[in-house]
Symmetry: C2
Subunit: 138 residues, 2 copies
DNA sequence: ATTCCTTTTGCAACAAAGTTGCATTCCGTT
DNA sequence: AACGGAATGCAACTTTGTTGCAAAAGGAAT
């Protein structure tokens, strides 16, 4: 486990620090996406708020995590299943946000192609579905 | 023009006030979606920041405008083409965000059905496409 | 037009979220 | 062990969003 975390950081030319290791672990243990606030709560007093902001920013830049747009204005971050290896596109799967438990899932379902008016060039497509997840729909 | 604005407010049982009229006009003149900050800039000193928050909130509740999730955490609001009459669903069309000019478009393209794992119940689907719009792609 | 009641607004004070600069500490390499 | 660059923590600050309450404006009836 520790090796996996270490590998990801080294692969991305990032020095291995306590905060980066811990935040990466949070993502690995979470079954969904995390918001800044979630990480802040989980880490308690371990490290500064600013460090979390900067770490998340770094991870996004390196492509280790990606952001998920949500209708309620809270930015969430998620690690991709394949560790977000180089060449992986973040917009080829859809996201599901459960209204009940708040969990955000990265689903395997691929993004359907959409038709756009002439002259429009697509760079990225985000599909965010909300409703009730498998655990909350009973 | 003034009549149209007036009608929308009355139809929704809202009293006709300066701020509501002005904010609705902004939406009618804009060719895309607006963020809270946009409206604040446009209105200058006309009315309080709090009034804008409350007006947008009211409009969303009444179904006059709808929110659009964006990957960069800024909530945008848009008026639908059909004035958002009762029965209109906001998630039946897709949104396009231009990376160059920042304009957000409501497109006529319908949201494709997505397949979800068993047990997942869909309530709403947002599709946000980004790239270059017709004006910026040349 | 005047009155009366309700809704909306503005102000002020907060709370929460995010940013920046700088000194200190830590990581990785020699 | 020591050095240089990168990362962290702290403090101060800006931006964004919320809440309570008194003043003002809207709408309906007289």
């Amino acid at each position: 486990m520790a090796d996996v975390i270490n590998d990801i950081l080294k692969r991305n030319q990032l020095s291995v620090t306590d905060s980066r290791k811990k935040i990466l672990e949070f993502f690995h243990h979470a079954d969904g996406a995390l918001a800044h606030a979630d990480i802040e709560k989980m880490s308690g007093e371990s490290f500064d708020r600013v460090t979390i902001y900067r770490t998340l920013q770094t991870f996004v830049e390196k492509g280790i995590i990606h952001t998920i747009p949500t209708a309620d204005n809270s930015v969430k971050y998620a690690l991709c299943k394949d560790e977000c290896a180089a060449g992986h596109h973040h917009d080829d799967h859809i996201h599901f946000l459960c209204d009940d438990c708040g969990t955000t899932y990265c689903l395997d379902t691929h993004v359907p192609a959409v038709q756009l008016p002439q002259g429009f060039v697509v760079k990225r497509t985000d599909v965010v579905v909300s409703g009730k997840c498998g655990k909350c729909s009973n």
